[in-house]
């Protein structure tokens, strides 16, 4: 069995990659701007809802309940979906899922597929697997298209191209779509995407997507989206394939009344996203006449064992925790080395890989608790982070963050000249964070110290510097 979460097992440790990302000031500006916009919108539409806390609590209990009886609900889903004309497949890991999907495509002799945004397929590395088999996957979500055309990596769960601004996207479209005239209004960019993809929507015979919710009672799949690319992919092709993590199942159709309120307000700050599609198996003379669901484990069943860790699987992938996270807002998504970034990525990525890889991610947090507060299904992310840190230590796998910081401290303290240097670096490095002689908000993992307390700034002159100067003056 080979559990894989994108290329996370090969990614550099968080501390290393975050340093690299912190140096990219354009990316940081883009991430800061985009997360500011979405936070403002989200706060506004959440404040409109007097029963928001009651909805969160119901969603939490619903997810907790479903996970506790996951075997029963999966069996229900399989039965109902099959009765409605769908075909259910089971994949224990990424390779198996990719193999099943490839097999379906090849059985139709097709060489192209159109895709709805699905992070689960990024998790299994489906695109490279299809390409290796000579099949071209076309991403049709605007952000995924931007990532694919730019040979880039997704940096956000909901808005994978969040690290790119309008100007960069326009340049990319001109180059890759070979456009001579392209305006610089956002509408010009969406219009270019519309024209680029329309022909593919009408022609390509197989569509692939994920599932936001899989309804056990009816065997239905629900896809939540904005652009209409989802509707195109799940309506026009002859065959549609849903790649769905086993944790996406919900008990009943009526439970959508909870999730369809929480998800759009949390994800994009909208009262409702433009389109939701819910369908059940195959409908005569409407949409694909062949429908497959690939239910993927890939390390999920393992996370069920511990009650606290299990919360991780409640996630509905809204991205709200990313937008409020002081660490994510500094480093962007790429530093996490995983298709799942931000606070939720920091707990889901190492757990899917049985804590064998990405062990530094549980340290990529200041434990400030903003993620817990924003989470629409009330995942206590800080609680899970602490538990995972304990596991890392128990495994005897003292993570890079600790190793590096302890090493740095011991290096600094063991030599006078190095201590001098470290103090000088600290004096300069602290300057953006000092207000009235106090440090109120430190970046990155240092932020944990300053979220609930201020720190006295490091004096402009260290004792050694003062002593040396005094000696010079007296000389």
């Amino acid at each position: 069995m080979t559990v894989r979460v994108g290329n996370a097992a090969q990614a550099p440790e968080f501390l290393e990659s975050s340093k690299e990302q912190l140096a990219n000031s354009q990316m940081r500006r883009n991430v800061r701007h985009a997360t500011d916009v979405i936070r403002t919108k989200r706060n506004r539409v959440v404040a409109e809802m007097p029963d928001w806390e009651a909805l969160r609590e119901s969603a939490r209990q619903l997810k907790e309940h479903t996970l506790l009886h996951l075997d029963i609900y999966l069996a229900q889903f399989e039965k109902a979906c099959t009765q409605a004309g769908g075909k259910v497949h089971w994949a224990k890991d990424a390779d198996e899922a990719n193999g099943i999907i490839r097999g379906i495509i090849e059985s139709h002799g097709e060489k192209e597929v159109i895709k709805i945004k699905t992070i689960t397929s990024d998790e299994t590395l489906l695109n490279p697997a299809l390409e290796a088999a000579g099949i071209i996957p076309y991403e049709t979500d605007l952000a995924d298209l931007i990532v694919q055309l730019g040979n880039d990596k997704p940096s956000h769960i909901v808005v994978p191209a969040l690290h790119r601004n309008k100007t960069e996207i326009r340049q990319l479209f001109i180059e890759k779509m070979k456009l001579e005239n392209l305006g610089d209004k956002p509408e010009d960019l969406t219009d270019a995407a519309r024209r680029y993809l329309r022909e593919k929507f009408l022609r390509v015979k197989i569509g692939i997507g994920g599932a936001n919710f899989a309804v056990a009672e009816t065997g239905s799949v629900c896809i939540v989206e904005s652009e209409g690319n989802g509707r195109m992919c799940l309506t026009l092709p002859q065959v549609f394939i849903s790649l769905c993590g086993i944790e996406k199942v919900i008990p009943k159709f009526s439970d959508l009344e909870v999730f369809l309120q929480l998800l759009p307000r949390s994800a994009t700050g909208e009262r409702m996203n433009p389109y939701n599609s819910i369908w059940t198996g195959v409908t005569a003379q409407d949409g694909p006449q062949e429908f497959h669901v690939v239910l993927l484990d890939n390390g999920r069943s393992h996370i069920l064992a511990d009650e606290k860790d299990r919360q991780t699987l409640q996630c509905i992938r809204c991205g709200a925790c990313l937008n409020v996270c002081p660490v994510y807002r500094q480093t962007g998504g790429h530093a996490y080395g995983s298709v799942y970034s931000g606070p939720i990525g920091a707990i889901i990525t190492p757990q899917l890989q049985s804590m064998q890889h990405s062990q530094s991610l549980p340290y990529a947090s200041s434990l400030c608790g903003a993620c817990y507060e924003a989470c629409p299904v009330k995942i206590n992310i800080p609680e899970v982070l602490i538990q995972l840190r304990n596991k890392v230590v128990e495994n005897g796998d003292s993570p890079l963050v600790e190793r590096v910081s302890m090493k740095a401290a011991s290096m600094a303290l063991s030599s006078g000249s190095r201590l001098n240097l470290a103090q000088k670096v600290a004096q300069v490095a602290q300057s953006p964070f000092v207000h009235d002689g106090k440090i109120q908000k430190l970046p990155g993992f240092l932020g944990g110290w300053t979220d609930s307390r201020n720190m006295r700034s490091i004096p402009k002159e260290s004792f050694r510097q003062w002593w040396a100067k005094r000696k010079q003056e007296n000389a």
Binding site: A161, S226, G228, V258, S277
Partner: protein, 224 residues
């Protein structure tokens, strides 16, 4: 064939593998999951609080918020309103579901194309589509289609660039739970919820109107 059988065996082995891993990791549980489900707390609001007129007004406001054109008229005025709206939008020909039964058929001045098994390419050449809906949600500015005879198959309200939807006042509810409960009897039909025209938030997190679905959505709200 032998290869296929082998592959089939391996895959059903994966099914067993997943189920046994799930059961092993979850351990002992209350076998009465249905009773567990009933205990889930549901303290959120279900029933709306607005008067019928306030509810309709909220729907209009929320539809407009997302850039949907809204026209209110009486049952007698529907036909005239359709031709007025289509003229404003410059739509010359409208697509109709094959078995469209609306008594308010569009005026003769406008070309009507019935969806008689049209190919997607043929639908793509039509400039607009006219349908009804099943439910509308005031709070979120949403219309819900279950793709009945008057709402057409899903491709119909997806490919053309313009969608005109007739909403009856009695189809309008205030909250999402009210809408989902009304949809309960149609829960295995294909369902599409539409909140404003196609849009994206992918560029700098700002909602931009118009990507792949209809870029213009108009609603005629029929109130007796």
């Amino acid at each position: 064939m032998v290869g296929e059988a082998k592959a089939g065996k391996r895959l059903s082995a994966s099914r067993e593998n997943i189920f046994s891993a799930v059961r092993r990791n979850l351990g002992n549980r209350n076998p009465n999951f249905a009773a567990d489900y009933e205990r889930i707390s549901r303290d959120y609001e279900v029933a709306g609080k607005l008067s019928p007129e306030e509810r309709l007004h909220l729907l209009e406001e929320r539809l407009q918020d997302y850039g949907t054109g809204v026209y209110r008229c009486s049952p007698e005025q529907v036909t005239a309103t359709i031709s007025q709206v289509l003229a404003v939008r410059g739509v010359q020909s409208v697509l109709l579901p094959k078995d469209f039964s609306g008594s308010f058929l569009p005026p003769k001045a406008i070309e009507m194309i019935y969806d008689d098994n049209l190919s997607y390419a043929e639908i793509d050449r039509c400039s607009g589509v006219l349908t009804t809906c099943t439910v509308a949600i005031a709070l979120t500015g949403t219309i819900i289609l279950r793709h009945s005879a008057d709402e057409g198959r899903r491709a119909l309200t997806l490919i053309p660039d313009y969608h005109l939807c007739i909403v009856q006042a009695e189809q309008v509810v205030e909250t999402v739970p009210e809408a989902i409960r009304r949809m309960e009897e149609f829960k295995t039909a294909p369902i599409t919820t539409i909140s404003g025209p196609s849009a994206t938030s992918d560029i700098e997190m700002t909602r931009i109107k118009g990507v792949h679905g209809p870029r213009t959505l108009d609603v005629i709200l029929v109130v007796s």
